[in-house]
Amino acid sequence: MLFTLPSLALIGSLLLLPIGQTVYHSFTTWDGITTRWVGASTYSHLFNRPEFTQVLENNALLVLAIPVAILFPLSVAFLINSKIPGWRFFRSVFFLPTAVSWVVIGFIAVRFFADDGILQHLLRGVGLGSLHPNMLSHERTALVAVMITFVWSMFGTNLIIFLAGMSTIDQELYDAAKVDGAGSFTVMLKITIPLLRRFIQFTFIVTLITAFTALFSLIFVMTRGGPGYGTTTLEFFIYEQGFSTGDFGLASTAGVILFIAVAAVSLLQVRLLRTED
């Protein structure tokens, strides 16, 4: 019992106590000092705000980036896993962005997508200068720019997980398939992907939770949630309500919704793991 004390003290006082407070304060108006009990109507107020609909929509759109963030590294993992000479080098290079803060990545991404930025120069270089995309200055395209940057950043992490998964597959299975005359595409479809199912589910959940709870730095540096509410996701909305507007009550209400979303996704993961045992 004594051995669990440090862990419990940290987690209890700094995670569990505040999540309880968040739930309580989600039913109140709260500016950090005075609290007034309102009841469940705080939730209907939140959902009636037009900008909150857009916030939820932004989160829904983020989900669309997840298949891309999985399929890209998955297909590259197939290329590297054939153990071609130099695969270790490629693995190290592709994994490198994992070490870099989204603050730094965000600053460079701004230069990439900005007006007169790298993307426009690249397009001009290949004769597509007339496209002239100015992605950060429109609501929808700004969100797409954030999503592209997010996919770029997750590439290495997901690649590593798939490579780890592939290394657990018995080489004999591949040899047997080859003897049976199966082409490499058939092998991928019939052997590798089914055996990787657990790893694909895992990256799906991790990427989804990352998209919902860890894009703050990227959004803060790239767009500050704008233009308008174009890139304000739920987590950024909580920050803005709490620390720009000073409405801690509303921040708590939105905080409960984010918590429910994350918990639902995590429980799904537990469920999936359990059905396989």
């Binding site: 669990t4 006082s13 070490a99 790298i118 992490t157 590593i160 984010l258």
Partner: protein, 282 residues
């Protein structure tokens, strides 16, 4: 006749083989460029003055000098180091002790407590940010490094505890029983047997947390408000807005803030990979 046909087929196959190899390397080379371009971009432009940046050639240290005038760089690097290492130390203490208790001691209700710790993994920092801020402000922990250290430690502890529990469970029971018969006691078993065996897992947790804490923005942004207590990543993200158009200065700042985490990554890549994948492979 048939042998020459076979030879012909073999030749075609090996050409196809070479062809697919070349295609593979072309794809990998392209991705390498896409992945490395930001590093190239920030390293080159960080060593240009604003004029040289617009001209696209020439190198100087002007932007580095400007950066050191804009931000207390040395001070913020020190803050980052202190905060990151202290958080890692707390996480290691909490996760090894709790992991040992859950995996080996297994007291009454320990299974329930374990589930509570696991459940804490689902709490996103944004959800608790308002009460966390008020609580820490009430005890005077805002704008002091130890406030941020505690928050980072709490955020890292659940996953680390989970990993340590899984790791300790793999250690065969007879090793522990033999030591108990020798009379070292449960505390001795922990210090003399379990901790040395757990070094690789502790290392993986440390590297994972180093990158997580060093690279974070939100906690430092809210709980540390004056530039002289802020870590470098937060300092860079909140650089006064008149410098935001000074791209070479931003890139110099990006280089200096990213470099320590990149170095840790390059040295301890293997530990990081095992930390990321330990959770899935059971």
């Amino acid at each position: 006749m048939s042998t020459s046909a076979t030879a012909e087929r073999l030749r075609q196959m090996s050409w196809r083989h070479v062809g697919s190899r070349v295609a593979t390397y072309l794809v990998l080379a392209l991705i390498t460029m896409v992945m490395l371009y930001p590093f190239y971009y920030m390293s080159f432009n960080g060593f240009r003055s604003l004029d040289q940046y617009y001209a696209g050639h020439g190198f100087s240290l002007t932007s580095w000098r400007n950066l050191f005038k804009t931000l207390p760089v040395a001070r913020q690097l020190l803050n980052s180091t202190i905060i990151t290492l202290s958080a890692i130390a707390l996480i290691l203490v909490a996760s090894t002790t709790a992991g040992y208790a859950f995996a080996v001691l297994r007291y009454r209700f320990s299974r329930l407590v374990f589930l509570v710790v696991i459940a804490a993994m689902m709490v996103p920092i944004q959800s608790i940010i308002a009460p966390e801020f008020v609580n820490l402000a009430n005890i005077g922990f805002i704008n002091h490094r130890y406030g941020a250290i505690l928050v980072y430690a709490a955020l890292g502890a659940p996953f680390a505890t989970f990993l340590m529990t899984v790791y300790f469970r793999r250690i065969p029971e007879d090793v522990i029983e033999a030591a108990l018969i020798d009379g070292v006691g449960y505390g001795g078993v922990f210090l003399k047997i379990m901790l040395p065996l757990a070094l690789p897992a502790m290392f993986a947790i440390a590297v994972l947390q180093f990158i997580q804490v060093w690279d974070d923005l939100l906690v430092g942004l809210l709980f540390l408000q004056s530039p002289d207590v802020r870590p470098i990543t937060v300092g860079l993200a909140t650089i006064p807005s008149q410098h935001l158009l000074d791209v070479p200065q931003l890139m110099a700042g990006s280089v200096i803030s990213a470099l320590p985490a990149i170095v840790v990554y390059l040295i301890f890549q293997r530990s990081l990979i095992s930390g990321l994948t330990m959770g899935i492979s059971k």
